[in-house]
Amino acid sequence: MTTTLYTSDHEWLAIDGDVATVGITDYAQSQLGDVVFVELPKVGRTLKKTEAAAVVESVKAASDVYAPISGEVLEVNDALSAEPALVNSDAQDKAWFFKIRIADRSELGGLMDEAAYKAHTA
């Protein structure tokens, strides 16, 4: 069973055991517009919560994606380098950014569930 949580910065985390898969929400991609480039963190990098972990660029601008929690990057989605537009077409599934080992489960406590996130973007 996975649980999906959300940040106020419009990232989603699918929690499966001690691993979280991280991406940006459909709302975020709709605000960014056409994504033309994604820069992902290096596998093995240890991220601290709120530090810039990835960059997503539209035709107009570059936006940082912040680490929603702390932990080690286990895997990144190389498909996004070849096809950045996946972020627009399938933000909350195929266009995941990276997987991170959850270093501190207490950090999950500050995240939103789907209902709370919906209210946040309403």
């Binding site: 517009g33 056409d34 033309v36 820069e39 960059v55 660029e57 539209s58 035709v59 107009k60 601008a61």
Partner: protein, 382 residues
């Protein structure tokens, strides 16, 4: 985010209601509330303009009539030559030319279009500079000309390979116009000024229309299925691929026309040895740049990777040097090239086509090559 007061103080163009009704995402630009994109998005808007036709609201730009007090247009042209390094006298009736207002240091105060309408000159200047430009004209040309701010007119650009066939339905003379032809024409029965020019690298037209009629004309043009409304986002990516300068970014008071690689826009008659050499602000410096070369130059830059290199990125001669040699002044992603594109200033020694450079983006040195502009071949109807 803007404070509420700032939002309220934004000006609007006569097409503001149309933008909102079309779902435009409105942003502040040069003091105006303008659409950065419509629901189609920047990428589709850009590609549609290159394959069909795009409609742009550029009503925020300044339109000025320069009317000679003598009644002779050449007197207005001679007067304007005191402020720009271009040959204005040689602009034939019904023709338009690209120009720059220069300052005493040879820098560029603004870039503009100048058209000869037979009995007066018609100027189109940048939105952000229009108040200063008008003051500059009044301070320097008021003895010779009436400076008439045409603030009751909107400006609509129709750009792309279908622009001619679209406009032909509303203006029978349009197809016979050539690149940089300009003059009064009826469009859909309205009293318009039409020029065959634009800011996309595509064939197309710019149509000055009375404000009261602007929305009706825009809606009529948009009824044609070939025409899509285009926001400022795609306007920027289109002009960048076309290698065209954006004032305040690629050219400003610190850059001379020679440094900006705009030599083509300064006719021989105004250069050293020409019939009317000099006689414009900063002539000494600008002509010295023509005669002896400038130490830096605006160049096109193509990235080898996929990461866009944006305005402000420092440029380096190699992958390790600590001293930047230049700076990117415009950069982003070129949807038609499907690759990052940029322009910036480098030492003339590093400006030859094919020169390898590096831009620093988020702490990494990305390889770039100095490349010819336009990046996308222009399709002007000459």
């Amino acid at each position: 985010m803007l404070a509420r007061d700032d939002q309220n103080s934004l000006k609007t163009t006569p097409l503001h209601g149309l933008h909102v009704s079309l779902g435009g995402k409105m942003v502040p630009f040069a003091g105006y509330d303008m659409p950065v994109q419509y629901p189609a998005g920047v990428l589709k808007e850009h590609l549609h303009t290159r394959s069909q036709a795009g409609l742009f609201d550029v009503s925020h730009m300044g339109q000025i009539a320069l009317r000679p007090k003598s009644g002779k247009v050449e007197d207005a042209a001679r007067a304007l030559e005191r402020l720009v390094p271009q040959d204005i006298i040689a602009i034939a009736p019904g023709r338009q030319r690209y120009a720059q207002f220069t300052n005493a240091d040879g820098g560029i105060l603004d870039d503009l279009m100048v058209a000869n309408f037979g009995d007066h000159l018609f100027l189109v200047v940048n939105a952000a500079c229009k108040a200063e430009d008008e003051a500059h004209l009044r301070a320097n040309l008021a003895g010779d000309c009436i400076i008439d701010s045409l603030s009751d007119r909107a400006l609509i650009a129709l750009q792309g390979p279908k622009a001619e066939s679209v406009l032909a339905k509303l203006c029978a003379e349009a197809p016979a116009m050539k690149f940089m032809d300009a003059g009064p024409h009826k469009v859909a029965g309205l009293d318009c000024f039409v020029s065959r020019s634009g800011y996309t690298g595509e064939d197309g037209f710019e149509i000055s229309v009375p404000s009261a009629d602007a929305e009706r004309l825009a809606r009529t043009l948009l009824e044609n299925p070939d025409v899509m409304p285009i926001g400022l986002g795609a306007r920027d990516s289109l002009r960048l691929e076309a290698g065209l300068c954006l004032y305040g970014h690629d050219i400003d008071t610190e850059t001379t026309p020679v440094e900006a690689a705009l030599e083509w826009s300064v006719q021989k008659s105004r250069r050293s040895g020409g019939a009317r050499a000099g006689g414009f602000p900063g002539a000494e410096k600008i002509l010295a740049h023509f005669d002896n070369g400038a130490s830096r130059r605006r160049v096109g830059l193509l990235a080898q990777g996929r990461a866009p290199v944006r305005e402000g990125a420092p440029l380096f001669a190699d992958g390790t040097g600590s001293e930047p040699i230049g700076k990117v002044t415009s950069g982003g992603f070129g949807p038609s090239l499907n690759a990052p594109v940029a322009m910036g200033y480098v030492p003339t020694s590093h400006s030859a086509l094919g020169t390898h450079l590096f831009a620093e983006v988020r702490g990494q040195r990305l390889p770039l090559t100095v490349a010819a502009m336009p990046f996308v071949k222009n399709t002007y109807k000459r």
